[in-house]
Amino acid sequence: MRDFVLKRVAALLLPFIQMYGLYVIFHGHVSPGGSFAGGIVVGLAFIAFATIYGLERGRAKVPEKATTLVESYGTLWYGLMGMIGIFKGAPFLANKLAGIDLGELGALSSGGLISLIGLGVGIRVASTMVALFFTMMEDES
């Protein structure tokens, strides 16, 4: 755990792993991958940080309150995106029918609600992984 090389290499690599995860989340609609895969990668980067640098420092990066909030409101975010359809007079979870601008094809912001929903799901999945890891590692009872 106290290996110097491991810590150095992790410090070099982890930002890139996280960047890769975010890339996968953001490009889910133009290339393979998607919010789930990207979210898991981002979460795994945090887990790797916590295993290498110790649980306390990992917990300091992601406090329990944050994961709980992202958990619940990330899931609610999905539902609220669906409610946009209802407010615009279209069915639940409508995208094009709700009159949302789909954007330029192939661009990063295309797809209307799809990229927004994907972003929410990605962050949520990352926090889920972190929450699962810490809940299992920490001694409570």
Binding site: H29, G34, G74, Y78, L105, I117, R124, T128
Partner: protein, 93 residues
């Protein structure tokens, strides 16, 4: 021994069914019908994304994906409710 026999029997029965399925990898299979074709042809205009799978997951069948995130939410809550028990309470049973 009996378990092995039952397993072999079950395997054989399932294999009979599987052998009957439409041949693997052909484009004329019944599941490759107008639904799949419509997804491929219209995904661009309908949803504005290039990855058809993302279009299906997050637009055509977004309701499923909502429940999928709810499954994860449920799992996290179940994990927390299982592991974060308060001490000193033995339960009634």
């Amino acid at each position: 021994m009996i378990i092995l026999l039952i397993t072999l029997l079950a395997t054989h029965v399932v294999l009979l069914a599987v052998a009957e399925l439409p041949p693997y990898g052909m484009s004329g299979n019944p599941s490759y019908n107008q639904v799949a074709q419509r997804y491929i042809e219209n995904a661009r205009e309908d949803t504005g994304v290039l990855n058809v799978i993302t279009a299906i997951v997050l637009d055509y069948r977004a309701y499923d994906t909502m429940f999928e995130t709810i499954v994860l939410f449920t799992a996290v809550l179940a994990v927390i409710i299982t592991l974060k028990t308060t001490e000193g309470e033995g339960g009634g049973t």
